[in-house]
């Protein structure tokens, strides 16, 4: 069945189709409607789950962990500062090897406060042992939920997973979505198996206890090994998903990269725009391609290297503010390409943070700047490609009561 819905509703449908048994969530823009739709699913009885109206995201993740410890399929969703508040328990979910799925409607972390999209929230948790998938459209927002459970619950994996959808750009954008049939989802995603960790009075174990230096590494190392098995598991799951539902996904999507001199690298909803830019430039005879990362954790180094190694210029768009470093996507792409010969020139740009749109012009500007500056080593710095030159930048973070102070007119792109 096809239906018009926004990304958050699509996520909620994905969770319902996955037959989640416990949902714990706390409202935060732009995630809130996921929690609302799931609450009404439970209320109307179309989803047979216990809904925990927790008093914070910290408790949302804690209760999700607690529920998952009993062996049920547990779900939560959040964004931004809510995810930051969860952070302490994020690591518990992974270290306890609980295959929880969490949707994140990506939103900037403060400061200053922002309600709008960037990836700084999910990037802050990127090394905590969670699988991360970034959707490009509302269909993926739905599909990735059962897919994420399938990968997370695989006996070879047993790690939690994030389905990230760009706040507002996906969470609140309506699109036509194919709702899979329940029987098909059931065949793709059977009930959760026994797993590694379970609180069961019939077989008592102590979990997540204080662990000394002789054993801490021994607890963490298998997590890293499990994460290394994810590409294989995900590949098989995605292939089966394609067979069952007719939509084929992959960990990276290389679009017109085979013969590209210049490859753009991006994640999330902006890929639609970049896709369009690539087509346009191709029609002008320029050899441009797009490499889209669907999975950021585990990072698909081999696939990225294979897709980019023939390019002369690689241009990475990070939707995460990079302060004192390069953007996380850029850093990973550089790592993937390290040691290739000849190495592509890698340039990285921060764009579209705090909800700023990334229009065609921004993508083109990043390209032109990168190609103009191309040198033997490319450019590594944290270049903010859509930053205006501000005389009065301090007024942006220190608004005067008269509210006249802030006038961040785009004068020109500052030279960096």
């Amino acid at each position: 069945m096809r239906q018009v819905m926004d990304g958050n509703t699509a996520v909620a449908y994905g969770a319902r189709l996955s037959r989640v048994q416990v949902v714990a969530a706390y409202p935060i823009t732009p995630q809130s409607t996921i929690a609302e739709v799931l609450a009404s699913f439970c209320d109307e009885g179309s989803l047979n789950a216990r809904y925990l109206r927790v008093e914070s995201e910290h408790s949302a993740m804690s209760a999700t962990v607690g529920a998952s410890y009993t062996g049920v399929r547990a779900f939560t969703a959040t964004a931004s500062v809510g995810l930051a508040l969860m952070m302490e328990v994020i690591g518990v979910a992974a270290g306890s090897r609980l295959p929880i799925v969490m949707a994140v409607a990506n939103r900037a972390l403060c400061s200053p406060w922002s309600l709008w999209c960037d990836h700084s929230d999910t990037m802050a948790m990127r090394d905590q042992g969670w699988i991360q998938m970034y959707a490009e459209n509302c269909q993926e927002a739905l599909d990735f939920v059962p897919l994420a459970y399938r990968i997370a619950e695989d006996p070879l994996v047993q790690l939690p997973a994030v389905v990230a959808i760009d706040g507002f750009f996906l969470s609140h954008m309506s699109d036509t979505v194919e709702i899979p049939e329940q029987e098909k989802v059931d065949s793709f995603l059977p009930p959760r198996g026994p797993g590694l960790m379970r609180m069961d009075p019939a077989a008592p174990v102590a979990a997540n206890v204080l662990t000394g230096p002789p054993f801490f590494t021994e607890a963490k190392y298998p997590m890293a090994e499990a994460m290394e098995r994810v590409p294989g598991v995900a590949g098989r799951a995605m292939a089966e998903f394609g067979r069952v539902f007719g939509r084929q996904y992959a960990q990276v999507v290389a679009y017109r990269c085979e013969d590209a001199d210049t490859a753009l690298v991006a994640m999330g909803s902006v890929c639609g725009t970049v896709h369009h830019v690539v087509d346009k430039l191709r029609s002008q005879g320029r050899k441009v391609g797009l490499l889209r990362l669907v999975m950021f954790r585990p990072f698909p180094y081999d696939e990225v290297r294979a897709a980019l190694v023939r390019a002369k210029n690689v241009i990475v768009l990070d939707r995460t503010p990079a302060v004192g470093t390069v953007g996380p996507l850029q850093a990973e792409v550089r790592t993937a390409l390290y040691g290739t010969n000849p190495p592509p020139e890698v340039s990285g740009f921060v764009a579209g943070i705090g909800g700023r749109d990334i229009p065609e012009a921004t993508v083109l500007r990043a390209m032109e700047e990168a190609l103009a500056a191309a040198s033997a080593i490319g450019r590594a710095g944290p270049a903010f490609v859509d930053a205006p030159a501000l005389e009065n930048w301090v007024d942006v973070i220190r608004s005067a009561p008269a509210a006249t102070a802030v006038a961040p007119a785009v004068v020109e792109v500052k030279s960096r």
């Binding site: 789950a49 008093e55 607690g66 529920a67 009993t70 518990v92 009075p201 102590a206 204080l210």
Partner: protein, 290 residues
Amino acid sequence: MKKGFLAHGMTTCAGCTMELIARTVFDTLGEKTIVVIPPGCAAILAGYSLETPLELPVVMSNLEATAAFAAGIRAGLEAQGKNDVNVLGFAGDGGTADIGLQSLSGAVERGDRILYVCYDNEAYMNTGIQGSGSTPLGAWTTTTPGGKASRRKDLGLIMDAHGIPYVATASPAYLEDLAKKVAKAAATPGPSFIHVHTPCPTGWRFPTAKGIEIARLAVRTGMWVIYERVNGVLEVNIKPAKRLPVTEYLKTQGRFAGIGEEQVAAMQADVDRTWSQLAASGEVLQSAGA
């Protein structure tokens, strides 16, 4: 019913009453119990590295999240129709009255069927005797080196303000009373909370053999009121025949060595007021021969 879920020879301090309380709670609840323990002295009951002294399923939660972990476990059990399992949170005063108050409040407000036992040793002991919201007036801790300047908060009243169906206090000097309350709490169809006074030789500065004596003195001086509130109705379970002055309790512990006269007078006044309020409310029902 099986007993002795907790092995002996743990690394709690000599004379620790928390351990005694834990044994009583676990043995009363029995094997159909899932335990949540946050960081704090009781974490050692959950285990260390590859070993656990506890023969019950137990997960170590985060300090502020005992009630939320427990609520999630309950939700998971309910989702599977497993309704014959106790879900116990066993947490210290810091993890309950301070950093964990929010998640406890949330779980109780929602009506989640969890049994929450707070063993109150009146400070953050595991991190080195720092003052908590439950540290009494005038008590020395490492972060109240001149004695605590403010009163403690009343956890029982906070729980009562939530309309919790079962809240009680208890003491290691009256273990049968504690056991009875644990059984009642476990049978409560909603959330239940038991606040247990927990004399701590290490943090309170008293000889290791004196824990029970001090616990009993707290009751006899009226400083620790042993009561039970079922669906809002209060009953004082142990009424000291003749209340001793609070100084009898204070003088047993090094942590009160530097307490000023004014603070002692304020504490005595608090105790007197509490008991006259209890008497006036007509809820002081029986004497258990304290």
